[in-house]
């Protein structure tokens, strides 16, 4: 393209004439990005929206049958879906301490560390993040195995009974929350540490001169200045937390026992790819999309309202 602009009117044969090219130029630059977004996001979204009004078993030979709002009506009255929604909320609430609480505390406490100690701790906290999710799932399955797992061996060792981490319906969801969160702690800590070290040291010094104790400095200076990061990670956890746990649900419990660990994403996937009910799956997808879209708008408004930016 540079050649074409340079050679101008004397364009070589086979090249686009200069005028037409320069008009199309911005679109050519944008084309790859637009194509990717359209092909992978908007077209499937619209197709899913259409499909949610049909009944179809995804077999190539069968024709989708238009059913109107039946899919939505059925879904909303289904106990399965209600359970999945409740679980989704539980996943999100359970993840927040792991994705926001612990990383924030770690970042604040270790902000003053320096030298090799800091690198060691950063490496340790970051390792879970670089382990592939499926590998992590398998490792945890071994560790938490009811009969031969290390964790249960330790628990019996200190005199506590065995815990069915993945088989007890009251515990399994929290086990999956822990594994999902364990993977996130490193990433969140990294973000919080970066944000914390971006706080101008003179604010902390000014507060020390004002007589503030370390705790008061955290409460009055560091936390408010970390608010954009806190809100961002909270928002990400709310919007994506249930998605992040999908791998572990799928690999470790398959939504069980007694559907106690399923969530909306897993249900959606089950409808679509286990029972081959494309209409139900896409209708569930549309509902999830709408609800999370509203939550996202709310979160963004909250960020605008509460985040403090240091200019």
């Amino acid at each position: 393209m540079t050649d074409a602009t340079i050679t101008g009117d004397r364009a070589l044969p086979g090249r686009l004439p200069r005028l037409r090219l320069s008009a199309a130029e911005p679109w050519l630059y944008l084309a790859p990005a637009i194509a990717v977004v359209a092909i992978w996001t908007y077209v499937p979204l619209l197709q899913a929206f259409e499909l949610s009004f049909y009944q179809w078993n995804m077999l190539p030979r069968s024709t989708p049958r238009f059913v109107g709002l039946d899919n939505y009506r059925n879904l909303l009255s289904l106990p399965d879906m209600r359970q999945a929604v409740v679980n989704t909320v539980l996943y999100t609430i359970g993840l927040l301490p792991l994705s926001v609480g612990i990383p924030l505390a770690v970042a604040l406490l270790t902000g003053g560390l320096s030298g090799p100690l800091r690198n060691l701790y950063r490496a340790l906290i970051f390792v879970p993040m670089i382990v592939a999710p499926i590998v992590a799932a398998i490792l945890w399955r071994w560790l938490l195995n009811e009969d031969h797992g290390l964790v249960n061996a330790w628990l019996s060792g200190i005199g506590l009974g065995k815990v069915g981490f993945l088989s007890d319906p009251d515990v399994a969801l929290w086990t999956l929350v822990w594994i999902t969160g364990w993977k996130l702690i490193g990433f969140s800590t990294l973000l919080f540490t970066a944000a914390d070290s971006a706080i101008s040291p003179s604010y902390v010094e000014a507060a020390r001169m004002d007589g503030a104790s370390p705790w008061q400095i955290v409460r009055d200076i560091r936390l408010p200045l970390l608010s954009p990061t806190i809100l961002l990670i909270t928002m990400m956890t709310i919007l994506f937390g249930a998605q992040w746990s999908f791998v572990y649900i799928n690999a470790l419990t398959g939504g069980g026992p007694l559907r106690s660990t399923t969530n909306v994403y897993h249900v959606m996937w089950e409808y679509g790819f286990k029972t081959m009910a494309a209409g139900w799956s896409t209708a569930a997808g549309m509902l999830v999309f709408a609800v999370f879209g509203l939550i996202a708008i709310g979160c963004l408004a909250a960020m605008r309202r509460f985040a403090v930016y240091d200019e």
Binding site: S200, S202, Y203, E205, A206, A207, R208, M209, D210, G211, A212, S213, Q216, D220, I221, P224, L225, S227, V308, Y309, D310, E311
Partner: protein, 380 residues
């Protein structure tokens, strides 16, 4: 109000010394300015007084109490930072009142004290604003208010005016001076700006490479610089230095064999190499190269600053600047420069000042004229 005693204080960053064995006493109620080039350790010293920097060796006492291990908030110091460090998420009122809030002062009293300080600084209408909605000068005032509200014994200023534009800087300088006159709070002010230093200081400290070069009133430091560094650092245009050699009778002989001050005798060995320092404002041009007692001057460029003239040229190969009152007639043709013996500063090879043996014979001046011409105090 409080006094500060600094006793053989050292500061090391790793193995690099920033402050090297420094002794200094700041009297109760005085305004001390620490002046020096960047990296001379002046900010480090200030931060050690504040408690924001550990003291590697030596001790700092405030009102007789050693504070080496005392938390910054409990030393009775308030600090104004170079970038003001106003809490961006708090309003002006909250910024000023934060120290009181932390100290547990009841809300009503807090509002009252914040209001009083704000009124004093002309911030009354801005109390509900955030720092990002303030101009540079207003931020500066809020930073001052935050320091004042605690009624501390000591104000510490870390180059507080360097982020302001020239006009505002002069205004805030006057305001700081006025506040000090009213409050009489002991103040330590760090700057690299010699005008700020000269105008604000009761006591001026010139620092270089972690040690104090000279302590004195601004007039003393300007008129009798103890070292070549101080002489060169203060004054604009800076002092002119001319290489010279001591003859057998102790007189300074300039390059080319000129001996403009035959009555000025130094107790130095013959052939000692010295540098003669002359302030640009102490030089007077005289017509004719061979004028008696004059140094031949090769003029180059004449700058008209409006308020005065700067005439740049060379004497025996050394660059020399002459500051003249505006509208001084510039002699045409060959020019010599004259300076009274009392205006001569002499420095040894190691930079120390050398004093003439006896009081120099006063130069013939018409009576009634001030011993130092006003133009000799020119900086800008």
């Amino acid at each position: 109000m409080a006094s500060i005693d600094i006793r053989s204080v050292h500061k090391l960053y790793g193995k690099t010394p920033a402050v090297r064995g420094l002794d200094l006493a700041v009297e109760d109620g005085s305004f001390l300015v620490i002046l020096g080039p960047s990296g001379c350790g002046k900010s480090t010293l200030l931060r050690m007084i504040a408690g924001l920097e550990d003291i590697s060796a030596g001790e700092i006492a405030i009102d007789g109490r050693v504070v080496n291990e005392v938390e910054p908030g409990r030393r009775g110091c308030a600090m104004v930072f170079q970038n003001y460090a106003l809490y961006p998420h708090m309003t002006v009122a909250e910024n000023i009142g934060y120290a009181l809030k932390v100290a547990g002062v009841p809300k009503a009293e807090r509002a009252d004290r914040v209001g009083r300080v704000a009124a004093m600084l002309g911030l009354g209408d801005l109390l509900a604003r955030k720092p990002s909605q303030l101009s540079g000068g207003q931020r500066q005032r809020v930073a001052m208010g935050r320091a004042m509200v605690r009624e501390p014994g000591i104000f510490l200023f870390d180059e507080p005016l360097s982020n302001l534009d020239a006009k505002l800087r002069i205004q805030m300088r006057l305001e700081i001076k006025r506040l000090h006159r009213e409050l009489k709070t002991t103040s330590v002010f760090v700057t690299h700006d010699q005008v700020e230093a000269m105008t604000l200081a009761d006591t001026l400290v010139v620092m270089n490479q972690g040690v104090i070069e000279q302590v004195g009133t601004p007039a003393e430091v300007f008129r009798r610089p103890k070292s070549r560094f101080v002489a060169n650092f203060l004054g604009s245009p800076p002092m002119n230095f001319l290489p010279a050699e001591i003859d057998r009778r102790g007189r300074a002989v300039l390059a080319g064999g000129h001996m403009p001050w035959p009555d000025l005798v130094f107790e130095l060995a013959a052939e000692t190499r010295i540098e003669v320092g002359l302030r640009p404002g102490d030089l007077t041009p005289v017509a004719g190269k061979a004028a008696e007692g004059a140094i031949p001057f090769e003029p180059d460029i004449l700058e008209d600053l409006g308020s005065e003239l700067h005439w740049h040229g060379t004497v025996g190969g050394s660059a020399v600047a002459v500051a003249l009152p505006a509208a001084t007639p510039i002699p045409a043709g060959p020019v010599g420069l004259k300076a009274p013996p009392s205006a001569v500063h002499a420095f040894l090879g190691d930079g120390r000042r050398a004093e003439p043996a006896a009081a120099p014979i006063p130069s013939p001046k018409p009576s009634g004229e001030a011993p130092w011409r006003a133009t000799s105090l020119s900086y800008t």
